[in-house]
């Protein structure tokens, strides 16, 4: 048997989209409102976990998903480090918000220079990382065989 009952699958499908959207909203507004990369990333991971719980039991998790989440996690980390190094190269200061991108007006969505990008990087890392933790915990038998 794959997954849970029809009701659960339909409802999680609907919910997961909203959760994803909300997570994305929090990540993108990280420089304006409470929250940011970590909180938004947790929501994104929750949506992913919800879907994978409803559709298909944990033993059937594809190896592909595990690899994909670890790839996304590493790229999130690299992106964050790259942003730190961008300030280092451009303005001689590690983590400098170096005016490479829109500084913009305060309280606008497109503002804050590198900070929204850093939030996106963290969101990517946390979302994929938490999902990878879930897969590793839930499907450790599978991961061990790798």
């Amino acid at each position: 048997m794959r997954g849970m009952s029809l009701i659960v699958r339909v409802m999680t499908g609907l919910l997961a989209g909203i959760l994803m959207l909300y997570g994305g909203y929090i990540i993108l507004h990280g420089h304006l409102t409470p929250g940011g990369g970590f909180a938004g990333g947790v929501l994104v991971a929750a949506a992913l976990i919800l879907v994978s719980l409803a559709h298909g039991s944990v033993e059937q998790v594809e190896r592909r998903e595990y690899i994909l989440s670890s790839v996304f996690e590493s790229s999130g980390g690299l992106l964050f480090l790259g942003l730190a190094l961008a300030g280092y190269i451009a303005a001689d200061c590690f983590f400098r918000n170096a005016g490479l991108f829109f500084i913009g007006q305060p309280l606008q969505l497109v503002s804050g220079g590198l900070i929204p990008l850093a939030n996106i990087a963290i969101g990517l890392k946390v979302g994929a990382g938490l999902f990878a933790i879930f897969l590793a915990l839930g499907a450790s038998r599978f991961v061990m065989k790798e």
Binding site: V71, Y88, A91, D92, C93, F95, M144
Partner: protein, 501 residues
Amino acid sequence: MEGRILPLFVAIPLAGAFLVPLLSKLWSRFSDLIASIASALLLGISIYSWLIISAAGVPLHYWVGGWRLIGIAMWFDALTALVVFIINIVGFCATIYSIRYLDRYTSGRWKFFTLLLLLIAGLNGLAISGDLFNMFVFIEISAIASYALVAFGTEEEEVEAAFKYMVLGEVGGAILLFGIALLYARASTLNLAHLSQVLAGMGRTPFYWFVIATLLVGFAIKMGMEPFHAWLADAHFSAPAPISAMLSGVFIKITGVYGMCRLMFNVFGVSRLETPAFFNLLIAFGAVSMVLGGLLAYTQSDYKRLLAYSSISQIGYLLVALGIGNFWGIAGALFHIIAHALAKGTLFLAAGSVERQAGTRNLEQLRGLERVMPATTWSHIIASFSMAGLPPFAGFFSKLFIIIGALTARMYWLAFLAALFSAVTLGYLTKVVNLSFFARKDEPPTTAREAPALMVLATLLLVVLVLAAGLGFKGVLDHLVGPAAKVLLNGLEYARLVLGG
């Protein structure tokens, strides 16, 4: 700004750690390549920065993001130079050693190297950090990487040891964080230099001693000091050999001893004259660790467990030397960090080679390895002699300085104890040499052969450094240990340099 090299100490290993999982999907050997390159680069920049500061005579500093006191400070003085050099030399040797050593594990190469690079990143970050909370974060990064690495083999003992280690280590981490919160509550700053000025204005109140006690407990757990040593032997015993070398040679000294020294001497401004209670406490715990660790090491029949108890004993030496508190004592402690890291690194790597080639590390079963593994045997012997304090190896001079320090401070019984436990060290290490390497048996030992070239190379590199540090002890004392000891002795000078520069 000359300090612009400093962020690279964190950026290089982190970049390596994130690149390894990505690129190893394409070709599994990329993980070896990236890890070796990253650790070689780190070794290069640590030597380069050391040359800069010893030529210029002033420490390097760096404000992350250019925010000065609001932001995170990075700081590279003579003490950092010593510590960073040790981290990166042992880290480099462990990395190139692991390339062949990992053949015995069927999977997870990239996980190992990611974690190893994270461990190195955490240690380097701790060494260059000039910010209290940042120190905590880097301690935790390296600690979490080390828990996972201890459990790397996923056998029963390894997971069990890792769980034990993790519970103790994390309680230590929580206590450290509690101490940091207390400090922040009173001082409202996290910058070490600023903090030390605020504390200097506060006087020696009960609060001051309470914070010191909290932080000391946290660091004592991290360094495996005597009442908290339970995790250490199991963790060192179960970890893969290069990780045992990193844990014993570097991790316990950097997160435990270096973290404690930096905070106590440079921030709290303890000194033998003003706060003798603190130093006597260090001597008491150090002496207990030295005696118990040495005696427990004597009774072990497992190669790596013996070395682990010996580490506890040597940590005791370090604490005693710090507790003596005069120039020779502290110089001896810092020299001992170098000597012990190099020698213990060699011993654990040699132990790993023996285990890999002979299939066991039970001292009762190992026989006559000298005939088949000459390079490993002689590295082991030289490192043992250095640990035991025989001239002309590095360990001799560190123990000599400690004894000189004890004599000038008129602590004769301490000098006697230090000399006595040198002999004990020699005793248990010759037991290993006698039993496993030289004792003859009628039948040929095993099918053991000399370890692969890269593993031998890594071991030999450390041994050569043990020899070099011993023969060139004058140079090491003048250019590395002496200035570092002065940093600790002129504790509050630190704040003036950071805030003035």
